[in-house]
């Protein structure tokens, strides 16, 4: 089902729609088919103007079995279309979906408010594929292509992109290529020859700035941003990582690029993942580690080491529901306080959050740039929602990205090399091993200012604690000033968000302002340090709200740093904010 959804998304993107997707699947690899927890869904929102969210409700629902219908029917709009595979509503499937046999929704009238198209997709597919003499299982597997064909007809899409994909995907088995293409075409023709609709649903292409586009999801974009930064910085990439949902796709992607001098090291655990990256960074590579919340918890001590060694390091946290193992495949933004404060001692690091799938490219690039230029660990926060969600993206060639100048050196004009001597941005220059005359020792014990020798001196410790904090604060010189995504400083109230909630908040405020309210949106990408003008912006508002998918984390920081009586809007259900939910919460807070 995930593959079918991806194909529809890519085809629509190429057609020119703006879109947002939300793949939602169980944590188990082969969760029992037909059961309620086993439902694997792919939500896609396409439009002819800007699309900011995967949508609260659906116009069309494809349900391959009773469980899929039962778990999703609540979000289908009145008069919405249901394409249901009747084979998935037999007694066995009803039992699995915990529906009694006399309450088959296809027959009991409960779907009267919708336009129901109930067809035996399994049988139709098998009939269409009879000439291929496929085994029963292979033939049945093609039913997703059959239903995709129907959907393509319904939305008037061309089949070419998916046909190309089938050719590549089954390149080693010509029979499967032909069978899948046949199923796709048969579905399309089935849509055409049946009179469910007088004509397909027309959604025109959106207006885009001219340029070269591709569809990209957050994890791909993160991998590309990191790789691009390493090329730009002429500092080859080292990834030390341990597989974890939903971060593993970054490991998979970067592992493909050894031809670009990328070393990917699948370590024995999360700790070895980050420590190998620190070793690589010490040796002059761009050290990166990727994980999700539970893994980040294990890396904590090593992040402290990198803070003390003042070596560049990028830590990607693709957040998921917590605590502990939590909800591995569901989305949440509950690791912000862990990112900001989750280490022993005074150990500030830079924290950046990506807002959309394609924004992961820019923010991953900036994370690497800041790490290399400021000799500091940088944590990039993404989450399951944008990591797996895709959108069309205007490709940014490397020539258009900002330059990166690392602090790695092989020689110095100074009389003696002082490992902890400060540059203008308070970074230190790191002499790479192999450089004659610059031999030196560094470690996790407190450092003496400039020399880097072990020091237990009281005043020096305080000085160094403040220096490391000042170095992180100095990053604010190199990040853009904060702007308001919507509204202005005269607007009546401000909604602050961070990370993947950008689209939902944006759409909610557009709609509320269209209803006559006057709201502003501030979306934070740089959370530590924050942009220099942030206090001035926030203090311009009497009413400040913070919307986030946790039990109240950024709000603590906002209240702490700006002494404003911010109000929180929180959702902790493993699902992104719906626009309607946000609108209701905002209205309630401002008594509108």
């Amino acid at each position: 089902m995930q593959l079918t959804g991806t194909q529809f998304a890519e085809t629509s993107a190429i057609f020119g729609n703006d879109l947002a997707t939300f793949p939602d699947f169980p944590a188990e690899i082969r969760a029992p088919i037909g059961t309620l927890p086993g439902v694997s869904g792919y939500q896609i929102h396409i439009g002819n103007s800007d699309v900011y969210t995967p949508g609260d409700t659906y116009d069309v629902l494809v349900a391959m079995n009773a469980a899929a219908l039962k778990t999703n029917i609540k979000s289908l709009k009145p008069n919405g279309v249901i394409i249901a595979n009747t084979e998935g509503f037999d007694d066995k499937n009803l039992r699995l979906a915990k529906i009694s046999e006399d309450q088959n929704p296809l027959h009991d009238g409960s779907l009267a408010a919708f336009k129901l198209i109930d067809i035996n997709l399994t049988k139709l597919t098998k009939q269409a594929l009879e000439p291929f003499n496929l085994g029963n299982k292979d033939a049945e597997r093609c039913k997703n292509m059959y239903v995709l064909g129907i959907v393509y007809w319904l939305f008037n899409r061309e089949l070419k992109h998916t046909k190309d994909h089938i050719q590549k995907h089954f390149a080693k088995n010509e029979v499967l290529v032909q069978a899948n293409i046949k199923a796709l075409e048969s579905g399309y023709h089935f849509g055409e020859t049946n009179e469910w609709f007088s004509h397909p649903i027309e959604i025109a292409a959106a207006t885009y700035e001219a340029g070269l586009y591709r569809s990209i999801n957050g994890n791909q974009a993160t991998a590309m941003g990191l790789l691009g930064a390493s090329v730009k910085a002429e500092t080859p990439l080292f990834l030390g990582s341990y597989p974890i949902t939903p971060a593993s796709d970054i490991l998979h992607e970067l592992s493909k690029h050894k031809g670009m001098d990328v070393i990917s090291f699948q370590a024995e655990d999360e700790i070895a993942g980050i420590c190998s990256a620190i070793g690589a960074s010490y040796g002059g590579r761009l050290g990166i580690t990727t994980s999700s919340g539970p893994g980040i918890a294990l890396k904590t001590e090593a992040i402290g080491l990198a803070t003390m060694l003042e070596l560049p390091l990028v830590i990607c946290n693709i957040q998921r529901g917590g605590p502990s193992t939590g909800l591995p495949t569901k989305t949440e933004q509950a690791d912000l306080l862990q990112a900001l404060y989750g280490r022993n001692g005074e150990s500030p690091i830079v924290v950046i959050a990506a807002a959309t799938p394609s924004d992961c490219y820019d923010k991953a690039y900036m994370a690497a740039k800041i790490a290399l230029e400021h000799t500091v660990p940088v944590m990039l926060l993404s989450d399951g929602f944008i990591a797996n969600g895709a959108e069309p993206w205007r490709i940014k060639a490397l020539e258009d990205m900002p330059s990166i100048n690392s602090q790695f050196i092989c020689n110095t004009s100074d009389q003696t090399y002082l490992p902890y001597k400060r540059q203008a941005n308070f970074a230190r220059q790191h002499a790479l091993p192999g450089s004659p005359g610059l031999e030196h020792r560094i470690g996790g014990l407190e450092k003496e200012h400039e020399t880097g020798n072990i020091s237990y001196d009281a005043a020096n410790h305080e000085f160094m604690v403040k220096m490391r904090a000042a170095k992180v604060a100095k990053v604010a010189d190199d990040i853009p000033e904060q702007t308001l995504a919507l509204g202005n400083t005269n607007s009546k109230a401000l909604v602050i968000g961070w990370g993947s909630t950008y689209g939902s908040i944006h759409q909610a405020i557009i709609e509320l302002n269209a209803e006559g309210l006057d709201l502003a949106q501030l979306h934070l990408s740089y959370i530590q340090p924050m942009p220099k003008n942030i206090a001035e912006l926030i203090k311009a508002f009497d009413v400040v709200m913070v919307a986030e998918m946790n039990n109240g984390q950024l709000i603590k920081v906002i209240r702490d740093q700006f002494l404003v009586d911010a109000k929180g809007i929180h959702k902790i259900q493993g699902q992104p904010f719906q626009v309607q939910e946000l609108k209701a919460s905002i209205k309630q807070i401002i008594n509108a």
Binding site: R214, D269, A272, G279, R285, H440
Partner: protein, 337 residues
């Protein structure tokens, strides 16, 4: 003469740093440091190409006292850091300084995985069978029943056999030496360096404050000869001033009184034989056998991790990489608006 080929000449004195050595007076670590200082100038490696990475513990302070590159890292993780460094910079000579707590307790997982991956690094494991820096708790190599601050009634933990553990992890080089024998140490460090692959050297090291005399039986004049077995490749296993030897009959080691029997039946040490190496490593548990010192096992034909990693990489210039990257970014499904 090509200047790149000149090897910088340096001496033990050049390896000194301006840092005051802070081990307790009488600590076995001094002897190890001094032996290293003697050996390092003879390896044909530039001082600036040497990196010592350590974890946490008394032994792990060593990098501060050697004027090479060095990193004093966090507890148990030096092997992981060294692996990341070595695969990134294979031309460097990378050494790990660790202890029994650091390598076998908190860092046990990283140790076994480093050994199986076989990066070309040298791991020097200072085994004093105690936690020294935290002032005297039992360690994973402390003997069963040992009374320490954290085991007032005696430990109930069976100790690790570090070399058997290393063999189990498929280590390609294992050796044992002892702090009180500088010549032997130096020879072993040279061998460890020469081995292309991951070398694990267990160094018996006396902690004269918290575990004094742990290895006295191997160093005291009256007991040393009958309790130590110096291994030499191709030579028979003989100890106790030539009076005793060891034979291998049907896979079982037996003590032989050479004064009574001809020594043609003696076990000839073959450091490339993993089965014999395993039997030697088990002498650890058998009190009647002497403690083997020397190179117990070497397997030199195995590819190193760093070679395998480097073989998969291609190095191209920035312009080529930029072009490659832009092509990659475009992917095969892009469209023009």
């Amino acid at each position: 003469m090509n200047p790149e080929q000149t090897i910088e000449v340096f001496t033990a004195k050049d390896l000194e740093t301006d840092q005051e050595v802070r081990w307790c007076p009488g600590c076995g670590d001094y002897a190890i440091l001094n032996s290293l200082k003697k050996v390092l100038p003879d390896l044909g490696v530039k001082r600036s190409d040497m990196v010592f990475v350590s974890g946490i513990g008394c032994s792990s302070r060593l990098p501060y006292y050697l004027n090479t590159y060095g990193m004093h890292s966090i507890h148990g993780r030096a092997t992981s850091i060294a692996t990341g460094l070595k695969v990134s910079r294979p031309e460097l000579s990378v050494w790990v300084i660790t202890g029994d707590g650091d390598a076998l307790s908190i860092g046990g997982n990283h140790l076994i995985h480093t050994l199986r991956r076989n990066p070309d690094i040298n791991i020097l494991l200072f085994n004093n069978q105690i936690y020294g820096l935290t002032k005297g708790q039992f360690s994973p190599t402390s003997e069963l029943g040992k009374v320490t601050k954290s085991s007032p009634m005696g430990t109930v933990d069976q100790p690790f056999n570090p070399l058997a553990l290393a063999l189990g992890a498929n280590a390609s080089f294992i050796a044992r030496t002892i702090d009180r024998d500088p010549k032997h140490q130096q020879e072993i460090y040279k061998r460890a360096h020469a081995h292309k692959g991951c070398s694990l050297v267990e160094i018996y090291q006396n902690c004269n404050v918290f575990n004094d005399g742990a290895f006295e039986i191997l160093t005291d004049k009256s007991t040393k000869a009958s309790n130590t077995l110096l291994l030499e490749h191709g030579k028979p296993l003989v100890f106790n001033e030539g009076k005793q030897g060891i034979a291998l009959r049907n896979g079982v080691a037996e003590l032989v009184d050479i004064t009574k029997q001809a020594n043609s039946e003696l076990w000839i040490h073959d450091e490339n034989d993993p089965i014999k190496a395993y039997i030697l490593s088990r002498f650890f548990e058998q009190a009647e056998f002497p403690t083997p010192l020397g190179v117990i096992y070497v397997r030199s034909e195995q590819a190193t991790l760093n070679d395998l990693v480097q073989a998969q990489l291609s190095h191209s210039n920035t312009a080529e990489k930029t072009a490659q990257f832009n092509t990659l970014l475009k992917g095969n499904k892009s469209w023009e608006v």
